[in-house]
């Protein structure tokens, strides 16, 4: 309990904080504590504080209101529209307010907090090709906005592509020759939580490419095992498959790049 005095919440000189001059101290968050702190008869169970106690009487909504009263302008700005709010989650379902290093705000422990409800995502993250969440180098909040946002994307930016572009800005173009699905939604071809396929692709080439390309000639040909290294090694199948030649799948800025080869 006393660990809170090693957090920003526990500084007495922070006038607007719970322990600041003239503030309500513990009751600022936990609510009126007269009953909890008062004398109890022998055998009588001590009444809990109204908020943030395992047996408290306050609802998740009431408890959240305590937090939002001070944090409304930042992390709580989009809370009213958040999926987590609609699902009746309380702030303390994820946060440990008395811990100076709240696990959900640490890269090496955040995902485990999220996995308590999002177990299928944990499975994906252990696939062979995934963003480095298992290695503690990214966290769920690298991309997701658990406190919600006004636009309802639950992402740190408005759309999937704008979120991906934060680290992959070289893909955003605009290019002279665009690849239409790239401009619209990265997840058409990529599984950002993890995939069995390299580059987190939803499938591997050439089948992935052939789900949208049927031009006469090699795009429409059924590639079979005869093209493997043990047969007649095929440039349409091995190495980088389609990307051996069409390497600019995210777009080309070359005047001769309409086929995404330049």
């Amino acid at each position: 309990m006393y660990a809170i005095f090693r957090t920003p919440h526990g500084r007495p000189g922070q006038n607007t904080g719970p322990f600041g001059q003239g503030q309500l101290q513990c009751e600022a968050c936990h609510g009126p504590g007269d009953d909890h702190a008062g004398r109890v008869r022998r055998g009588q169970e001590r009444p809990p504080v109204p908020h943030f106690a395992s047996s408290g009487t306050g609802s998740a909504e009431a408890g959240n209101a305590q937090c939002l009263a001070c944090h409304g302008s930042d992390v709580g700005f989009g809370w009213h529209d958040a999926a987590h709010n609609f699902e009746d989650l309380a702030c303390v379902d994820c946060h440990r307010l008395h811990d100076p290093f709240d696990p959900v705000r640490q890269a090496d422990s955040q995902a485990d907090v999220c996995y308590e409800c999002h177990q299928p995502t944990r499975t994906e993250m252990h696939k062979a090709f995934a963003h480095p969440v298992v290695e503690d180098k990214m966290a769920c909040t690298s991309c997701h906005s658990p406190h919600g946002d006004v636009v309802g994307s639950e992402l740190v930016r408005a759309t999937v592509n704008e979120t991906c572009d934060q680290c992959h800005a070289e893909k955003r173009g605009p290019y002279l020759w665009e690849h239409a699905p790239v401009a619209e939604d990265c997840t058409t071809c990529h599984s950002p939580h993890g995939s069995n396929q390299p580059a987190m692709l939803t499938q591997r080439a050439p089948v992935l490419c052939q789900s949208c390309h049927s031009q006469t000639g090699h795009p429409s040909v059924a590639m079979d095992t005869g093209g493997l290294a043990s047969g007649t090694p095929s440039r349409f199948l091995l190495g980088e498959s389609c990307l051996n030649c069409h390497s600019q799948v995210h777009g080309s800025n070359h005047p001769s790049g309409s086929k995404l080869m330049r």
């Binding site: 607007t16 009213h80 709010n85 173009g173 002279l176 091995l238």
Partner: protein, 706 residues
Amino acid sequence: MTTHFQGRLISSCTAAILVIGGAAAAHAQSVDTSEWVCELCPFDGGYDGDVAAGATGASDDSAYFGDATGYDESGAYGNLDSRGTLSSDAYYLRWDAVDLLLDSRSARVDGGQGRFGYHASYNALPRREYFTTETVFASSDSLLSLPSDWIAAPQTSGFSMLASSLAGIAIEGDRTDLRAGVRYALTPRIVASVDFRRHENEGTRTLGGSSYTTASLLPAPYDYTTDEIELRVAYQGESARVALDWFLSDLSSASSALAWQDPFVVPAGAEMPALAQAPDSRYQQLTLSGGVNMPLFRTSVSASASIGEITQDTPFLAYTTNTTIAADPLPRPNLDGSVDVTHLALSVSSRPLPKANVRLLYRSDERDNTSARATWQRVIVDAFPSGDNELNTPYSYQQQLLSAEAGYRLFSSLKLLGGVSRRETDRDFQEVAEQTQDTGWLGFRWRPWDWLSLDGRGGAEKRDVGRYDETVATSLGQNPLLRKYNLAYRYREFARFTAGITPVDWPITVALNGLYADDSYTESRLGVTEGKETRFTADLNWTISETVSWYVDIGIDTMESRQVGSESFGDPDWSADVEDDFATVGTGIRIRQIADKADLRIDYRESDSASETRIDSLAGGADTFPEFETRQDALHVGVDYRWSERLLLEFGLTWQMFEADDWMLDGVGPATIPSVLSLGATPYDDEQVLFGIGFRYDLAATAAGE
């Protein structure tokens, strides 16, 4: 720890420091707290935290395990971490430094005093892909050159100088992320903030360089830097909130082109082809958002409007590097590219009944590509003019979403949920100009007993297209029967469930989770026709005693799809069935306070994947590819031994292996494919043991004045 996480994390931390005096102040107004003294509160300042140092030995080189971690080569590594807080009456500072002596180092600091808050962080992320690759190219700036004695040939089998010219090259890169920001509360209700971020991404990647009938996999250098600035002013009132954001993202690339000497025999003048690297670009965005809370039905209404523009005017390369081709002048020197990005949103959340809550959302996202259009005369792979006039197609789209969700608590233990949504997408220059996606679902949350929770949802979704314009498809050379994966009609049924079992008197918790989705593309004669996905997870945690706990978790994913093609450019004559299976099992035990001195943790995880592709064609019959399989095992044992109150000795042992059977790489050396000079990457077969020893010194006692 990388990039986004640190930044957002620190923003949150800084926000936490900047308490704006809402509820507490409001309560305080009605209670006389002037005489309140918290006699038991340990307000003492000073610093608290720890510093850890040690060394880790890695048994083997490994690109797979070195990726993101920095343990990429065999040998010894130093470890240095520190975490702590420094505080006075009002001042607060928190630091966290991890892996400072590794390529994956990260450090952050955040703090504040009164109205002022700040944060800064640095994160490095090593990306390691292949160490088994070889190349004949030497890289210099934006040019990949061949050995001076290289003798070109029509096929790889004719490369007489190949063996003597190959040299190892790692396909790897490094990302670094630097952030800094300050926040200041102008008034108790108005907060202004400035955040800066520099993201650098440098390395070597595999890039195909085509010569039309031949190709070379190039070890292509890249060097991108993205600078971001975000300014924000936010007001939080009793019942209203509003914020104004300006965001700038500026991407610069060290080079806009990559040229290489072609190792194959090519037409005269095409010996030095070139391709374009990603162009520099700039994205600016202005966002105004706000909301108001109304007492009527405890309603919150929020809205957001955002306008932005992406621009790029990187000078074009010439049509060709081939001086023997008399290409026309370019119609314009650069794209003068401009994409207008607009987001609008209106959201209403309300509790119209004590037991009911609803959420309504409308949003519109538009990407309007207003880049200049022109007619271009392509020179195919710097070898010969195509003879075609081609008009660039700046793709635009607008997507609108209208959704409604509602929940009603029928009993104290049962809540019913439901939702509907419609998503409309309009596109330019594509086969489908108008697309709708209607979704409906019903669900429940049931807590029949304190120890059991059950959640379930199920629904259906129909993605419809107004018209699949086959004339557009034909103009792109597509088979008119094809329905592109993301543009096709699709009907989806889905369901998911979650069960949580937490017996009150038993030290066990169990969680089960399942998901099912079935897609039918009934209007696609060519293309993807079916898809199915199932997922299942199970978690068990057992607190065996006060000091011993054990867990096991299982995850299983299966994805199946079927697509149909036509080699004859007519009716369907082949099909491909793809099945992706994945399973992971993790288990571990924690034993604390062994002889009041030591904590032990053991974790083991095995993850296996198998991807199978079956082809059935009229021409070739049934054919099944070898499975693309991966297997990963990891065992970690850690022991923390408390030597004294302030000193903790730490020991760690990790064994990990990752192996893959990959037919795309198996047996494919640099010259295996007659028409492709590859980098000869081999499937992963990595095994590594890490042994670490170190100590962690607690600074708290020092802070107390010892």
